[in-house]
Assembly symmetry: C7
Homo-oligomer: 241 residues x 7
């Protein structure tokens, strides 16, 4: 049995600090994120890309019908890693924020504001009793008035802007790959290819990306629209790898 | 006495994460699912089928009057495994969702939306204090504008689309059987037969399916209606086994 | 001292699952049921019968004034075993449900719906914090549009249809007796006699049923009315034993 | 130190069952009843009587001003044993129930309904969190349309009709006395004498009932009124002992 | 370390009974009463008296400005022993009750009703969770339509009528003194002297009552008014001792 | 490790009594008071004075901008020792009470009433669950219609009138000094000097009061106004020491 | 394992005091502050400066888009150290306070009032149950009617005025540097340079401030406006170092 901080109970009630100023429940929620399917976000001069793997955990799982990249509004999408049901709740919330913004101000929500709104909900679930933190990290990407934006929100409610970011079980390998290969001035096509290469890098030797097991969303600064890639297009890009 | 995570108390309060990012209460609720009567869902090109066993636990139990396959709306039905009273509460909820949809939009609820609504309730019971998770898994199947749909919702609130899925005490054997024998292009009759064969595979050597101990619901893409099979029809299919 | 699951605390907070998916508090509530006075319900082609013993625990207890078989509405009655005060609360609730149904729809409540309503309250008391489960099982019996109905609801909120069922301290012996002697095609008089015989089977050698220590309610499909038997009639039947 | 169920904590939270289906907190509340001053209720053909002792625990206690038999309404009275402040709360509640009944229906409340109302409050305090059970038993007696009624309510919320009943520290001796000497066809005067004899039986050898240390309430079927006996009348009866 | 009931935790949560039917928190609250300054109440044929000591715990405490005998209404006053801040809250409550009574009924509140109102608040704090009992006992005395009344309320919410009563650290000696010397037919002057003698009896050999360290309130049946004694009058009485 | 009452848990939940009638949380809150900066209040015939030290815990702390003596209303001021943020909350509350009194009655609040209002809030935080007591003591001083008033409120909600009082880390030395040197008939100037001498007495040998490290508030019966002393005046008085 | 106060549980529930009058949860929250990025605030005669480092924890973090110095209103800004999501919540709150003040009074909020409002929220989170304290310290600086103001608020809700203050991981070195080099009569340019020098002092030998890794906000008494420095200006100042 352990005799570290865990054994002393600081990690068993959400809303308390340990003597070193940590919130263990929030740290543990991050462990749930690390067990999720890998998702990657990249921001380049020409746009943003989100790519996420899907794993056929069971051969009869209808993996084609599973969504891992989500449209929040015309100009912004997201993916997540961690507890799928927690992720769904936050994506619903983000869509409502975007919708209300359009209704009230008659213009698209800024991606900063959208991300902050989601992160504020997460923060609240780390400071008040009777709830647990959200066990999910979100990659949010889109185009704000021609400017590409990419954020990642943590279970703590913290969010940061990134040039490229990876979450989920392959996050370490993918991040290492991206740190070596990221360049800011890529075409949108090359940005997509970079995302797929990073995702490929996380696979086991006998695994291979297929149109069925990867989802891709992207938005170029030209159109400003976040689009999910069709199976044909995915195939085309995968052949270029 | 155990000295694993259980002994450390991470599994005794619903809303907390263990150091490895698990929610033990949700995992334990799944154990209740594994003790329930077996239920099977199959989706083929021609439609969907739900088959569920009923066990005469006591000889004076009026097993004929027990329902294990439930009509949610004209086009969608479901079955469950786990705590029967928890299942009943969620089925009531699903029926209300379907009814309200017809009242407000004057058209049948989509099966995606219906399943998500039920799963959202389940998620809420895993994140907030003062309640326990639902100890039940649901198989939801139906026809959405000629497209067959099949989902399974877990106690965590996660739901996934399946080509074929089994829950309850015989889930392991049935899944193994289905993985070997599933084909997508089956007639609705063959889909029904496959479900019954999978269910039979879970029985003990001296057990046999009878019209009294199996319930079958199905919907073909042609009619788009989810129907519960009469005793005569069940007999017919069982003789073909 | 025990070192089984009890020693680990899974049974001390209502709303949590044990690692094997059990809700111990619900199981323990069933123990309260097993300590109550025996009650028996039988459904035959000609009607339903509820018979319940009353025990003169103390010689000055005015056992004649104690009620153990309760009229819920014209067509349906019930008895219970377990905590008497819990039973009273649920019977009040059932009567309200029946009354409201008559007021709103101008027709008798169906026995399925009535039983489900009572069972839903029980389920709620097993899933939410700050309350304990109801320590009582109910036998509900009546005639729905000429069809005899018999249900038993458990502390978990689960309810099942039965041909014959026994609850309370003599449930094991009575069930054994009923499994051997139950036939579906009995006259209402023979159904009543079967219930009294099953109840007699649970008595100690020196005990004997008397009009004072047994309550009988019955409903024949002919009248559709649930009636409590007078002392004279009880005497008549007891002499036939 | 004990190693029985008490040591395992089942008796330290109101709303939980022990593995044998007991609610220990309710059992312990009954112990408070057993420490109270003795109160006796008797029902005969000619009426009802409640007699209760008062003990001059301290020589300057103004025992004459202490009330132990309470008028609830013209036709019904009560006494209690256990925590005096808990008893007072329930007697207030009973008086409100009786008063409201007169206001709404313009007729006296039935003693069954009155007793059930009080018992329902008690039950509620055994099933919901954040409260403790009432540590008090009530003897309620009166005349309902010429019919004598006598009930005793327990801390559990259970209530039973009795021919004669004793509660408080002398309950065992008094019950034994009553079981030997109770007859149903007594005049109201003999019923009063029987109550005083039973109360006397619980005294220590050097103790004696005096008009100061006993309170008597009675209702005859002739008048239908529950009356508290004057000091002179008490003296007269005590001399007959 | 103790191994009695305290070690078993029955005394650490307000709202639970110990196996012998005690509420330990209420018993412990009484210990706070026993640490307070001594207060004495006496009721004679000619009126009521309350006398309370004040102790100059610190030499710069402005003991003259401290109040220990409080006017509730023209005809009734009180003193307390125990936690001063708890006492203040209950005295405010009593004054409100008295004021409301005058506003609504245009006549003084009866002392029975006033005492019961205060005691009901105390009872509530012993039965519901999230609060602790009041750590204070009150002596309430006054004249009800020419009748002298004297009550003492305990932390449990129990209240009793007394001919004479003492609370606080000197309660044992004072009660002993009063039991020996109390007579009912005293003039109001002799009643006051008796109270001062009883209070003197509780002092240490080197201590002496002075006008500064005793407060006296009294009400004679003639005037029906509860008055606080001036320093001059106190001096006069103290010289008579 | 301790084996006294602390080890038994009586001090870990606010709202419970220990077996000897103590509320440990309230006692511990007083320890926070004893760690605060020293504050002194003195009442003489000619007025009241509050003097409080300020410590330059860190050399860049802008100690001049820190307030330790607060104006509540024209005629009343206060200081505190203990948790600064708790003190601030209570001073805000006191100011509101004073303001409301002026708005409603068009006259200054009495200092008794003001102090009682603050103390009632403190009492409430010692009796109800879900909060901790206030870790702060307040010295409140002012002139009520030409009468000097001086009170000290404790974390328990108890408040007492004083001729002179000291709180905070130097309370013991200052009280000792005041007990030896206090006289009631001082001019306001001598009262101020006495306060400064008492404060000086609490300093370490190498420490010295400066206009920067002491705050002084005073009110003479002549003006009836509570004034904070300017730096020049402070200097003048400090030179007289 | 520890046997100090931590082992005794005083630090595991927010709202309780330890025997020495500490609130451990508040102390632990300060540890979170000590792990944050360093932020420095300086107040001189000519104005205020806030400088905060940003660390490129990961090479793909888009550190340019991260904000560490925040505008609250035209005349006031702030920075924080500790949990970023907690800081964000309080900055939102501060902005609302400032906005409301302008709307209601049509003039800028005073910096004292603004700081007190934020600190009051923090205090509330240390005294009430069901929440944890904010794990963040804020440096708030601005110009109030030509007067420079600088405050630091702690997790306890305490706030103090400073001439110069440092928070976060480099607070010790920076404070030491500032204590040696702070002078009050600096030009705004020299104040900015002093802040940058203090920040540089906290870096490791191989680290260097760049326009990307430092944020600077300042307000001179002349303009009264709080401005964030452009990259060019930052570069200019960094070259002067």
């Amino acid at each position: 049995m352990a005799f570290g901080p865990a054994a002393m109970g600081y990690d068993r009630a959400i809303t308390i600090f340990s003597p070193d100023g940590s919130l263990y429940q929030v740290d543990y929620a991050f462990e749930a994120v690390k067990k999720g399917w890998t998702a990657i976000g990249i921001k380049s001069k020409s746009g943003v890309v989100i790519a996420s793997e899907k794993r056929k955990a069971q051969s009869l799982l209808d993996v084609d019908s599973i969504e891992k990249v989500f449209l929040i509004d015309d100009h912004v999408g997201c993916s997540f890693a961690g507890l799928a049901s927690d992720g769904r709740v936050l994506i619903d919330y983000a869509r409502n924020i975007a919708l209300q913004h359009r209704l009230i101000y008659d213009e698209p929500v800024s991606i900063d504001y959208l991300t902050k709104s989601v992160a504020d909900v997460k923060q609240m679930y780390t400071q008040h009793g009777g709830v647990r933190p959200f066990g999910v990290a979100l990659v949010i990407a889109g185009i704000d008035k021609s400017v590409p934006k990419l954020y990642m929100t943590e279970p703590s409610g913290q969010y940061m802007p990134y040039q490229a970011v990876a979450i989920g079980q392959g996050y370490y390998t993918a991040t290492e790959f991206l740190e070596k290969n990221y360049k800011e001035d890529l075409t949108i096509e090359d940005t997509i290819l970079l995302a797929l290469k990073a995702l490929s890098a996380t696979l086991k030797p006998n695994e291979k990306l297929t149109p069925n097991t990867v989802e891709i969303g992207y938005a170029s600064t030209q159109t400003g629209l976040f689009l999910k890639m069709t199976s044909e297009d995915k195939n085309m890009y995968l052949q270029k790898l």
